[in-house]
C-alpha cells in the first residue's frame, strides 16, 4: 500500500468516524436538532418576576422557551404540567435551567394573571408578556404562529405548541414537539447541561 493510498484510507476512515459521531450525537437527543444552531434572538419583556426579563440574562443556563396563553384549555396546561414534572425530576440541576413561557395574548395576560397561571404549575416557571407589537416581533423571530379565533363573546388562539431548547451559549439548539413526556425534557436538558 503506497503512502498516498494509505493517506486516502485514513482520511476516509476519519470522515466516516466524523459522520458516525455526528449521527450518534443527533440521534441521542429526544428533540429535533438544528445544524448549525443559530443565536436565539434576544428580547426584553415584562416578567412575572416583577422585573423586565431579558432572554440573554440566562446565558450560562439552559432555557426552555414556550409560547401560549393563560386562557388556553388544551395545549398549555399539559405543556406546563410537563415542565413542572421535569423540574421535579431534574432535582438540583433545575437550578441550572430556566423555563420561559411567552404569552401570545397581550390583551388578557397581564404579569399578575400570568404569574398566577404559571405559578400554579411551578413557581420556578417565569411568564413573560408585552405589547402586541413586542410579542408579534418575538413570534416572528422564532417562527411561532398565533391565530386569534373568535369564540362567542371571547376569543382563543391557535398557536404553535413546540418548545425551543436554548443552550448555555444562547443558541437555539433544539425543538421539542408538543406531547413529549417530562423524561424527554430531562434527558435533553441534562445533555445540554453536560456540554
Amino acid at each position: 500500500m503506497t503512502p498516498k493510498v494509505l493517506g486516502k484510507l485514513v482520511l476516509t476512515l476519519l470522515l466516516a468516524a466524523g459522520v458516525a459521531g455526528a449521527t450518534a450525537t443527533s440521534g441521542s437527543f429526544k428533540s429535533g436538532l438544528f445544524d448549525p444552531p443559530r443565536p436565539a434572538p434576544d428580547f426584553t419583556l415584562k416578567g412575572t418576576t416583577g422585573q423586565p426579563v431579558r432572554l440573554s440574562q440566562y446565558r450560562g443556563k439552559v432555557v426552555l422557551l414556550a409560547f401560549g396563553y393563560s386562557h388556553c384549555l388544551s395545549v398549555c396546561p399539559i405543556t406546563l404540567h410537563t415542565f413542572a414534572q421535569a423540574l421535579r425530576q431534574l432535582g438540583p440541576a433545575a437550578e441550572r435551567m430556566q423555563i420561559l413561557y411567552v404569552t401570545v395574548d397581550a390583551q388578557r395576560d397581564t404579569p399578575a394573571r400570568l404569574k398566577t397561571f404559571v405559578g400554579s404549575f411551578d413557581p420556578r416557571i417565569i411568564g413573560v408578556t408585552g405589547t402586541e407589537l413586542q410579542l408579534a416581533q418575538v413570534r416572528k423571530d422564532y417562527g411561532v404562529s398565533a391565530t386569534k379565533i373568535p369564540d362567542g363573546d371571547s376569543y382563543m388562539y391557535d398557536h404553535s405548541s413546540f418548545i425551543y431548547l436554548i443552550d448555555r451559549a444562547g443558541r437555539i439548539r433544539a425543538l421539542m414537539p408538543y406531547g413529549h413526556p417530562p423524561e424527554d425534557f430531562v434527558h435533553d436538558v441534562r445533555l445540554l447541561l453536560g456540554e
Binding site: F29, G32, L33, F34, H159, S160, L175, P177
Partner: protein
C-alpha cells in the same frame, strides 16, 4: 381451457410467492432519515407567483426504518419549514421514538397543517405484509 387453467395456476403461485416474500423478508432501510429539501430559489419562485410544493401534507414514518425527519433549507432566505423557522443553510433533524400522529402548524401548506404519522415497526409477518402493501399503494 387447459392453457387458461395453467395460466391461472402460474398467476396464483406467483402471487402466493410474492405475498410470502413480502411477509417473510425482513425489512431493511439504507438510511433511517426521510429528507426534505427547500431548493435554492424557492422563495424567488414563490414571489413570482409559482406554486412550489415542498412538503407533503402527510408524512409517513416507520419506527426502526424511517423514523428521522430531516428538513434542509438550501434557499437564500429563512423559511417556515414544517414546524419550525429555518435559516438559510440550516438543517433540522427530528427523531421519533413513539408511534403516534403528530400535527404541526405549517404555513407552507394550504391547510396550515402538516401531519406526521409514525407507525410502529412491523415486527410480525402479517405486519410486514401490510406495511409493504400500504407502502406500495402510497407509492402508486
Amino acid at each position: 381451457m387447459r392453457i387458461r387453467t395453467q395460466l391461472l395456476v402460474v398467476l396464483a403461485v406467483t402471487l402466493l410467492g410474492a405475498l410470502t416474500w413480502a411477509a417473510l423478508e425482513p425489512l431493511n432501510s439504507a438510511s433511517r432519515e426521510h429528507v426534505f429539501v427547500i431548493p435554492k430559489g424557492t422563495w424567488a419562485r414563490r414571489m413570482a407567483g409559482q406554486k412550489v410544493a415542498i412538503l407533503p401534507d402527510h408524512i409517513h414514518l416507520t419506527l426502526g426504518l424511517h423514523d428521522i425527519l430531516v428538513l434542509r433549507n438550501h434557499d437564500e432566505v429563512p423559511q417556515i419549514f414544517g414546524p419550525t423557522l429555518m435559516m438559510p443553510g440550516q438543517s433540522f433533524t427530528l427523531p421519533f421514538d413513539r408511534p403516534a400522529t403528530y400535527q404541526f402548524a405549517c404555513t407552507a401548506h394550504a391547510s396550515g397543517q402538516m401531519t406526521i404519522e409514525v407507525e410502529p415497526y412491523p415486527a410480525t409477518a402479517l405486519a410486514r405484509l401490510v406495511w409493504r402493501v400500504r407502502a406500495l399503494l402510497r407509492a402508486l
